[in-house]
């Protein structure tokens, strides 16, 4: 469904030197999958997502969604950012932040838009916070608003750029489980970027391990852990520990400083 072919992204550093962020990156995501991308920080994961989301043109290679080349932000694909405090509209209430994405292709009646908005607010665990402004909420709740907003648009593919990177450990676990629940009930397809190996293994069907800059795909690792996943039993499962071990070894080689 989503396919990346030999993608390369190069940009000019401030010094004028060309920097290769991503090199010869190819992979596929099938409908309904939960795929994570992990790699050392600063390796170009976010750049890769920006290219896939059509927000930044690749230097070489192609991104295909349903076989059509992505040249700008495509229909059916939404990118969710880590910085919820910047991506949410501070001047709109929680309800209106979510409603906003349904107003744009105005093919629904007002009452339908409101009902759909309410549905996603409740799915994301935000019932009772409809009339709050985002900045009145905690970080975790704000990211829930961003998730509700992204999913309300019913994207075929949801790209997430380290969405839980700035949250504390407990909030992060809560949101991981909310995300999995939503992913399953909405039959969404998610491409999730993180630098947290355990998070990647816990959430995903498959983990793509990236090298340091320039980012290449080192290995794709299938995660064969049963669903629904559980913060305790899944993380204590020998399969989980082995997968984490393998990914850690791959990445730590990349981190090795002479």
């Amino acid at each position: 469904m989503l396919e990346v072919r030999a993608l390369k992204k190069e940009f000019q550093a401030l010094s004028g030197q060309p920097v290769v962020a991503v090199e010869d990156f190819s992979f596929r995501v099938e409908a309904g999958q939960f795929v994570s991308i992990v790699g050392p920080s600063g390796c170009g994961k976010s750049t890769l997502l920006q290219c896939i989301a059509g927000l930044s043109p690749p230097t070489a290679g192609r991104v295909l969604l349903h076989g059509r080349a992505v040249t700008g932000p495509p229909e059916g694909l939404i990118l969710l950012f880590q910085e919820y405090n910047k991506s949410l509209m501070a001047w709109r209430t929680v309800f209106k932040n979510v409603r906003f994405v349904l107003e744009n292709p105005a093919n629904m009646k007002r009452s339908e838009i409101d009902a759909e908005t309410q549905r996603f607010i409740e799915l994301a665990g935000l019932k009772g916070f409809e009339s709050h402004y985002p900045w009145e909420l905690s970080g975790g709740m704000q990211q829930r608003v961003a998730i509700a907003r992204a999913l309300a648009r019913r994207p075929e593919v949801l790209l997430m750029d380290e969405p839980f990177g700035s949250l504390d450990a407990l909030t992060r676990m809560e949101l991981e489980d909310t995300l999995l629940r939503l992913w399953e009930s909405l039959h969404a397809t998610i491409l999730f970027v993180t630098h947290d190996i355990e998070e990647a293994v816990y959430l995903s069907d498959r983990v793509c391990v990236l090298s340091g800059r320039p980012s290449r795909l080192l290995e794709e690792i299938a995660v064969k852990l049963e669903r629904p996943r559980n913060q305790l039993s899944t993380r204590e499962d020998p399969g989980f520990i082995q997968t984490r071990h393998r990914i850690f070894k791959l990445i730590s080689k990349e981190l090795a400083v002479p």
Binding site: Q50, A53, L55, G72, P73, E75, L77, I78, L79, F81, E83, K86, S87, M89, A90, W91, R92, F100, V101, N104, Y133, W135, E136, R153
Partner: protein, 260 residues
């Protein structure tokens, strides 16, 4: 917030002391008192010229110029600022011109405006609008240009068309800074209206104050100056009230950021 909550009650002792000092100094030093009548007399005179309607005609003329000049500046400068903020090449084109004109003291345009527009209302409105435009223009440009890329990327990923992006994202995101510009210009508008009326006019508070001074009606002159201060204060209060209402979200946001 209620109006009562906005009055800085705690500052009243200093205000009262200032008025007391004014009253006493002019009563006990007759030499000073000749040029500086006691506060009580000034306020009684103010009541008298308000009562006779003398000052009201001048105030109405000044306020009309103020409203026209300020509204003109707000319309033009916000529109121009949005265009310049959105299109970088356009900004590059105009930047040197803006940087050259901006530091020039605005009253210097009065002689030019007299040449082109004569000595009537048009001239006063034009110089007021010119002077008010700068803070609004620069704040609007900066407001648009400092919108976070994450927000614009969010608008892009949700495939907003340029129209929606402008009305639903760019304008509200830049609005706090646009309002800052509008607020700075409020005081400037009053300065330019008064100054231009002092230079050439036969009505308005600026003319009135100068005329009173020239005809040695010193009490009336002070009363008119007090009236100017009160009008400035009232306009600012009105602006703050509207700002608190329209930009309530931003007040809440900044208040929250101040709390550690």
């Amino acid at each position: 917030m209620s109006i009562a909550g906005q009055i800085p009650w705690k500052g009243l002792p200093v205000l009262a002391a200032g008025l007391g000092l004014w009253e006493l100094s002019s009563r006990f030093f007759p030499l000073v008192g000749n040029y500086f009548p006691p506060a009580t007399e000034v306020f009684v005179t103010l009541a008298a010229i308000v009562g006779s309607g003398e000052i009201l005609l001048h105030a109405a003329a000044s306020l009309a110029r103020f409203v026209e000049g300020y509204a003109l500046a707000a319309t033009i400068a916000v529109s121009a600022g949005l265009c310049l903020g959105l299109w970088r090449p356009l900004y590059m084109l105009f930047e040197p011109l803006i940087e050259l004109l901006r530091p020039m003291p605005s009253p210097a345009t009065i002689p030019i405006a007299i040449l082109f527009l004569g000595i009537g209302d048009e001239m006063k409105v034009a110089v007021t609008a010119y002077a008010c435009s700068w803070p609004i223009l620069l704040n609007t440009i900066d407001g648009v240009r400092s919108i976070d890329p994450v927000l614009m990327n969010t608008a892009a990923t949700f495939r907003l068309n340029p129209w929606e992006r402008f009305w639903k994202v760019t304008l509200p995101a830049a609005s706090p800074q646009i309002v800052t510009g509008l607020r700075v210009s409020l005081a400037i508008a009053l300065i330019l209206v008064t100054t231009s009326e002092m230079i050439v006019s036969n009505d308005g508070l600026g003319f009135y104050v100068l005329d009173l001074q020239r005809s040695f009606r010193i009490r009336e002159m002070y009363a008119a100056i007090v009236a100017l201060a009160m009008i400035g204060y009232a306009l600012n209060r009105l602006f703050v009230a509207v700002d608190d209402w329209v930009m309530a979200w931003h007040k809440g946001l900044t208040r929250k950021e101040e709390i550690p």
